[in-house]
Symmetry: C2
């Protein structure tokens, strides 16, 4: 384990890290019968837990779904939400229903990530308590996602569910919010581009569209 | 650039990626007079923009603060919120006020990250529209954070501000939400542990506390 606060990454290491970020994909297609080694899962969860959090609140919670019966009940909730989404999408409903939007039935491991009940942390979130808790939990998932790609495993974040129904099914503590069903496992291939883009659902926008100009203030 | 969907990371590369995740810190101490190269900033922003987003909505927006006058106005907003936070912290107010909670005045570059106005995306967020937009934006910041560490630069996410006041100051489009002031630049050292832990403000919790057991369902 590297502990030096002075550690400098080399240019080659930097490029490896950028490749990890660039090659991560939201995966819905998994290799049937694939497995995740226990050591891999532990490394990945440790990486998730190294995420930053506002006021060190660490609001992420992970549950590993081990039973096929649970997985089936979860899948039924996701399917119900998929139908509601199709209805809400109106004229794109048929196109949407042809997309494969989750790999819950095929992935080697299924993890539920949820936001913990609010612990009342004030530091860094007095003015945006809910938002900052959510951002912290998402940073942990992004770490997990990058860790999965580093392990050459695919991960897909499924958010198509009614959170209250899923919280009830999984008996989460009151005040928890399920954020994602994380489908994890070996894949035959990682998509070259985001799947929704490759299938023509939506185009990604260029970085330039994300950059805003600083407003000019009159010198007083 | 690596484009192969079949790319496999080696064990050594995997360890580099894990080191990047492990050594990332929330930084408030910067080297005076430090600079970030333009090429570094562009690589980092490109990495942020490779983040996942629900329905490919890409709701992250970045603004580079170039003028000293703007930075001073921002710092005044943060200082006002720091005082309100101290008041809200009650018996820990004095202890809190001794902490250095941001490096806005010292960092080489200051970026504002905000959530874009809602674009109405339904895919993957019919049931949790606000939450999923926030999570997507946070994934982009986490990419940026890891990219900064890969460049051997420090980054600190400051969320101590009244979002509406900051949105008004920075003339953000209606419906935007400022999420963070990202302080970026060279550092003398990366903290060995999270600063809030090293200074005794709060202890991190073990990973085991974050893992929940799957509920047992009766077989029917």
């Amino acid at each position: 384990m590297i502990t030096s606060a002075q550690h400098q990454f080399s240019a080659a290491e930097r490029d490896t890290i950028y490749a990890n970020i660039a090659l991560r994909r939201d995966i819905r297609h998994f290799q049937p019968g694939g497995q995740v080694e226990e050591a891999q899962l532990q490394r990945m969860l440790a990486a998730a837990h190294q995420a930053p959090s506002v006021g060190l609140m660490q609001p992420w919670r992970f549950m590993r779904v081990r039973h096929a019966q649970t997985r089936q009940q979860i899948q039924a909730l996701v399917e119900a939400e998929r139908q509601r989404t199709a209805a809400a999408l109106d004229e794109r409903a048929a196109e949407f229903l042809r997309l494969k939007v989750e790999g819950i039935g095929d992935c080697a491991e299924l993890l539920l990530v949820s936001l913990a009940p609010d612990d009342g942390t004030v530091f860094g979130r007095r003015s945006m308590p809910r938002e900052m808790a959510l951002c912290s939990a998402a940073c942990a998932v992004q770490n997990l996602w990058l860790a999965a790609r580093a392990e050459n495993l695919g991960l897909g974040w499924v958010s198509m569910f009614e959170p209250l129904a899923l919280a009830e099914l999984m008996k989460l503590p009151a005040g928890s919010l399920p954020l994602g069903l994380l489908c994890l496992g070996p894949v035959a291939t990682f998509y070259e581009r985001p799947m929704l883009e490759a299938l023509g659902w939506r185009q990604t926008r260029p970085l330039a569209d994300m950059l805003m100009d600083e407003p000019l203030f009159e010198l007083s």
